[in-house]
């Protein structure tokens, strides 16, 4: 099974984007993003706090739908899912 991780803005600069990641059955969203983010310590620290939780301002989506930070540990990732992780928006 494979999922796509998309980082945007500063997170993209640190970690890349459109990352194809293998996922095992039962994989959680937070576990998957932690694994990918650990490839760059600055990127990891930008997204996660000292306890390994998503920082308060980080926005997470699964297949285009917002996932609350508190649910990221119980949200499962399946084949072909798209996970997006980004900082607060600043358009306009």
């Amino acid at each position: 099974m494979t999922a796509t991780i998309r980082f945007f803005a500063r997170f993209r600069e640190l970690l890349g984007t459109d990352i194809q990641a293998p996922v095992e059955a039962g994989a959680t969203l937070i576990g998957l993003v932690r694994r990918i983010a650990k490839q760059n310590s600055e990127g990891y620290e930008a997204i996660f706090d000292e306890s390994g939780n998503f920082r308060e301002f980080v926005i997470i989506m699964k297949n285009g739908k917002r996932i609350e930070r508190g649910a990221a540990g119980i949200t499962l990732v399946s084949d072909n899912d798209e996970i997006a992780v980004f900082p607060p928006v600043a358009g306009g």
Binding site: M61, G64, R66, A84, F86, P88, V89, G91, G92
Partner: protein, 144 residues
């Protein structure tokens, strides 16, 4: 027209097209790259989410303020000082609805549409912080 695109847009053509039957007012919002001691700005969007969000905002604004026509064109990529970033054109029967509808749309975009901009300076670059720390994908743009 609801679009996220690299190309600039012909505002005059949008205004002409906005004059539906019953139009008494057209309001144009044109967000421009300001010279804040920068060289350029660079914009990026999560387009697959941002475009549906823009459509949803346009729909809500049309219903809430009885708008007759709405265009939203948000540009991405590298833009020079003075270039258009965001163009919103709305028409309504009366000025009050047109002004309020336009304001609703820009505030909603700033609150919740996944678009980011980076100011490119001589020293490098800096990401512009969002005005709404938790905003995106949430209907947090219901201004009164």
């Amino acid at each position: 027209m609801i679009a996220i695109q690299h190309e600039d847009v012909d505002i005059g053509a949008l205004v002409r097209n906005a004059k539906e039957n019953g139009t008494g007012a057209v309001v144009v919002f044109d967000g421009i790259v300001r010279d804040d001691d920068i060289r350029q700005i660079e914009l990026e969007a999560y387009e697959e989410v941002a475009v549906p969000e823009l459509r949803k905002i346009a729909r809500e604004a049309s219903e809430k303020f009885r708008l007759l026509h709405v265009d939203i064109v948000h540009r991405i990529g590298r833009l020079d000082i003075g270039e258009n970033i965001l163009v919103i054109v709305v028409s309504a029967g009366h000025r009050k609805e047109a002004y309020e509808g336009s304001r609703f749309i820009i505030e909603a975009i700033k609150a919740g549409v996944p678009i980011w901009k980076k100011e490119l300076t001589k020293e490098g670059g800096r990401w512009v912080p969002g005005e709404h720390p938790h905003g995106s994908g949430q209907p947090g743009y219901h201004i009164s």
